[in-house]
Symmetry: C2
Subunit: 342 residues, 2 copies
């Protein structure tokens, strides 16, 4: 096997190229079985590579003269800004130079670029964006949270399979519990989409489908793969962020109320920080866009070096475990079985 | 105007009749412009009325020999258990004895009973369940969170109007900001339902429609009425409960970690309790089922006296402000305008 290559779009994020290169330098020191392609302002990148003492042998740089910002219309930006860091980074996956691409840029553009430039893997109908969210126990994969809404039942079944493969191969969960997000626990509950999808999921022999999960039970950690249509997933993901931020803000205000609470704050601060670390995004890597011919990982716009490093490890696992290949195989088997039945 | 009457289904809740009667006794002492109908076990109720020294002149009791439990299939239970406390309570609204009914029972049965027994108000297509949820600023009305999913755009427009009337008349928000829950802020974002609904909402002159709201911004308090289809609303409401419980659990564990944090806990406990009080359900009353010929309010299964009392005040406001009448008028006007256009 050729040496793995992972591409980083160093522009587009809120913090510029510096945390990207710092994260790369840390990742390179941790493992020696992959190389990095950096896309961005060549001159700046070269001086950052120098500054952080990166192994130059393992990094190649592609110069970019444009950047897609959060104000750009996604599809339009992908079509017009041919020399943007995101388009150039995705091109490296398309032409096979690299197997993965990480970007902190415009989410819509990453989703559109993933589909238009990298392209869907054979048999895949939709490419879901699937972040990990923390629960009381482990992390669970919320699939789909993308912008491509109104999916049909057969597409949700594909999400269940892709999510299952991802959790097993990348997160290391054996026989991951797959549930569909619903408004009740029983099979007869739900909207038309969910009611049509449940029997299809029950038929799947290659996943461990445990039925419906109510949103209340998601933080209980009762499932590993949470299947939903993108509108629901996107709403839940953003609501999680909003509610989390509200509670944390409330705790901070509580601690700053008066002298007594400020002393209390000093006593619990360290433990609090440790315990709440796992709710932070930076130790989970990014959200993979699954079902493409390569992997595209979207990290937060305000990502720092730790998130970049974790996303690189995530990509490394993805390539090593041939997740793309497994997804294609799962869908080819499905197609074959369907044809055999006909 | 006849004296207001409010009916309480005293069975069906997790805590039995006692907190119901206690809540009633407190409510009766606060205002003298309404009477109460209690439905439940007559003998037990009479002794509780005695125990809590309620004003007997203002209470009538209806005996019930059955109860609908959380294990009953909603529609079936409403049809078969004719002598259940819920059915008898709803009957008092149907026959005009009472204007409102409060129940802590089976949610599905309350929704079904509201529609089948009390009946929809003229012009109302669907009867949404609309709880208040806390935000960083004020409470916002999440409409619809019920079990009646896959609503169409014109139904969502009705939800926007009903929600607006409720927030203005009951919660006292002037010119409430109405937003539709969406996956982006721009009008071209969304699923088919939301995209079709937005132009209809923009046309409504009787509501203050401010456009789309992303779920992340709900806890920021950027809107007063949050319009959504019931599947989304139900998921968000339950997720709010789940995520809230996870964070509170995490805080509690943090405070109990070691001797140092336990001392810290003692110092912040009182302030914490005060600040987090507004996230508790018991000071918001219940979730109204809007658009019926009377009002039906669903309170939590584990409601205590405070929630019962608050729900009674909520019903009192509802009747005093003739919210049912306002809803009917809003829809009649809409119908007239439509006919005039044709």
């Amino acid at each position: 096997m050729e040496k793995m290559k992972i591409t980083i779009d160093t522009l587009g994020g809120d913090n510029g190229s510096e945390p990207m290169v710092l994260g790369v330098s840390e990742a390179l020191r941790a493992y020696d079985d992959f190389d990095i392609v950096l896309v961005g302002k060549e001159k700046e990148l070269n001086s950052l590579i120098e500054k952080y003492n990166c192994d130059k042998e393992r990094i190649s740089v592609i110069n970019s003269t444009e950047v897609i910002t959060c104000h750009d219309a996604p599809v339009d930006a992908i079509r017009r800004k041919k020399d943007s860091s995101l388009v150039l980074a995705l091109n490296t996956v398309k032409d096979g130079t690299s197997q993965c691409c990480i970007s902190a840029g415009n989410s819509g553009a990453i989703l559109a670029g993933g589909q238009f430039i990298v392209g869907r893997a054979k048999g895949v109908r939709r490419t879901p964006l699937a972040p990990l969210i923390p629960t009381k126990k482990n992390d669970a994969l919320l699939i789909d949270c993308g912008a491509n809404v109104d999916a049909k039942p057969d597409v949700l079944v594909q999400f269940a399979k892709m999510g299952s493969i991802y959790m097993e191969s990348i997160v290391g969960v054996k026989n991951p519990r797959v549930a569909i997000i619903n408004i009740g626990a029983e099979d007869e509950k739900g909207n038309a989409l969910v009611k049509e999808t449940i029997p299809l999921l029950r038929e799947c022999k290659d996943i461990n489908f445990i039925g419906s999960i109510e949103a209340r039970d998601i933080p209980e950690g009762k499932a590993d793969v949470l299947v939903c249509e993108a509108f629901t997933g996107n709403c839940l993901l953003k609501f999680f962020e909003g509610v989390g931020s509200m509670f944390l803000g409330e705790i901070k205000s509580t601690l700053m109320t008066n002298f007594k609470t400020k002393i209390g704050a000093l006593l619990i601060k360290k433990t609090m920080k440790q315990r709440f670390q796992r709710f932070a995004a930076n130790d989970k890597g990014g959200a993979p866009l699954l079902g493409l011919k390569g992997l595209v990982v979207k990290i937060h716009g305000n990502s720092k070096n730790t998130e970049v490093k974790t996303a690189i490890f995530q990509c490394r696992n993805f390539i090593k475990n041939d997740v793309s290949g497994k997804i294609v195989a799962a869908f080819e088997d499905g197609e074959k079985a369907k044809k055999a039945e006909e």
